[in-house]
């Protein structure tokens, strides 16, 4: 995180231009390893793109550097080499076209639900009243109509995720980056959240880059699934177009024969990488 990366953000306007929303071109990310000796290359020569309005999931073994890729897309991390562009132009500092849904707890614990949603709007120059009005609208949309006054510690994990989603989407960003946002939730809540996410997404079809290690989740949500190799030096090794019809009901679609066919095909590739990753983890 460089300090210069923080600057006043101009309001994000969704750009309707067709083409690529995000493009990784031969991105490599190396870190100095903890022992201080030598470099650890998390991502090597990764090329990947997300079209405007496309929902792309990236699956890979645990700890292979999926989050690193997402941090590059957000501008929180500079790639060691290679380029990242949003709508065809590179960006200095943070990616101002993107919203980021984090895996961990990202809400301000000292802010009520409605304030957590409104705060981003305030950063974008909205007046207090306006920001609160939009925030309340988003509370309604994520099913938390009367819970705006709750603090994060008073909410369940699912409610906190809903607030985080509302917080990100209220800014109307053209790109949404998601880092295993539902991995901490129990399975029922998770499927409900996935369905709700698809509902929200289908309303205005933003470009989504969704990171997960859950293949079923990836298939049921996405237009395209990208498989990453085991780390270190992870990179995409296969791509699958998910031609399942929309709108989808996440809980039901997992039983359809087409879903099983895709699952078998992708798992055939992923399994090998998972085993490699597992073997490395044991060493």
């Amino acid at each position: 995180m460089s300090e210069s990366a923080v600057d006043v953000r101009t309001p994000a306007t969704p750009r309707a231009q067709p083409g690529e929303a995000l493009r990784f071109d031969r991105v490599t990310c190396s870190f100095r390893s903890n022992s201080g000796a030598g470099l650890y290359t998390a991502v090597r020569d990764a090329s990947l793109s997300v079209d405007t309005g496309e929902f792309v999931s990236v699956v890979g073994p645990t700890g292979c550097g999926k989050s690193t890729l997402l941090n590059v897309a957000a501008g929180l991390l500079r790639p060691t080499s290679g380029t990242i562009t949003a709508f065809g132009s590179s960006f200095a500092g943070l990616n101002r076209d993107a919203a980021y849904l984090f895996q961990g707890e990202s809400l301000m614990p000292w802010g009520r639900a409605i304030d957590n949603i409104a705060v981003g709007l305030r950063f974008h120059g909205k007046s207090r009243a306006e920001a609160l009005e939009i925030a309340q609208d988003w509370l309604d949309r994520v099913g938390l109509h009367s819970h705006g006054a709750l603090f994060p510690h008073q909410m369940s994990g699912g409610m906190r995720k809903r607030v985080a989603i509302a917080q990100a989407l209220a800014l109307n960003p053209p790109i949404i980056l998601m880092d295993e946002p539902f991995s901490a939730l129990d399975i029922q809540t998770r499927q409900m959240m996935e369905t709700e996410l698809l509902d929200l997404w289908s309303q205005d079809r933003k470009s989504v880059l969704f990171i997960t290690h859950d293949l079923e989740e990836a298939i049921s949500l996405s237009d395209r699934v990208v498989v990453l190799s085991a780390g270190p030096g992870t990179h995409p090794i296969a791509e699958f177009t998910i031609d399942l019809p929309r709108p989808r009901e996440v809980a039901d679609i997992r039983l359809s024969p087409d879903f099983l066919r895709l699952h078998t095909a992708i798992w055939g590739v992923l399994k090998e990488e998972v085993l490699k990753g597992y073997a490395q983890g044991k060493r």
């Binding site: 919203a99 000292w110 009520r112 981003g120 974008h124 603090f151 510690h153 008073q154």
Partner: protein
Amino acid sequence: MLKASDEILAVPPTVIPVEPSRAIDWIPAQRVVLLVALLLLWWGLVRLGVLDPFFFGDPVRVAVVVWNWCTSGTILVHLGYTLSETLLAFALGTVLGIGAGLVLGLKPKAARLFDPFIKAANATPRVVLAPIFALWFGLGIWSKVALGTTLVFFVVFFNVFQGVREVSPIVLDNIRMLGASRRDLLRYVYFPSATSWVFSSLHNAIGMAFVGAVIGEYLGSVKGVGFLILQAEGSFNVDAVFAGIVILTICALVLDLGVSWIERRLLVWRPTHGQADREAT
């Protein structure tokens, strides 16, 4: 910080589980009984001649002194001095502590530079500064305020420093992705986070301010409760010494209650112990 609209505030923030109502809580009554018993013991031992009233005083005479001070109004003047010294030291020390804590918390290089100096200053017994402050600021309230400030400063400083460093990196990244400027980060993340740490040290800090004021008065002054005690000691009036101690104790309790009240108002977002337990289950 933004505030929720009134309509939203009307929603009860949380449902606090009520314990199944049992018999009346006897603890407060038992506390009173314990206090009375201790006073009776003191009084009895003095009356029976076990304790010499010259050294141990007499609770009845202590009460009379307190009563006379209160009715004549002399105590108001002295208490006024002690309390204003306490509150000024508290305010000054807190503001300086928050400022220094924020700056050094956000500038690791400066923090490393100042680290040994801060440790040294904190390790110095501050009481020895009292004569120096008396030289610099005279025998009025400001030498006491200075002493209290040095005590309060470090308590608050270390807590704010810690608070700034322990802000969750995810919360920070998230707020930056939402478009926060550097000033926004300070206002919406660092400051509230530091505040919660300040409040956990506030009970300590107000106590320190009080200690600073009284010790300062004790070591050289013309007004204040510490001065009253010093005078009483000079004339071997143990009852008046105890009367001064009683008044100081009551003040300390009231100040502490005040801090608790402010804390409850300002830190509503923090889980109470009961709620944290509920979440754990």
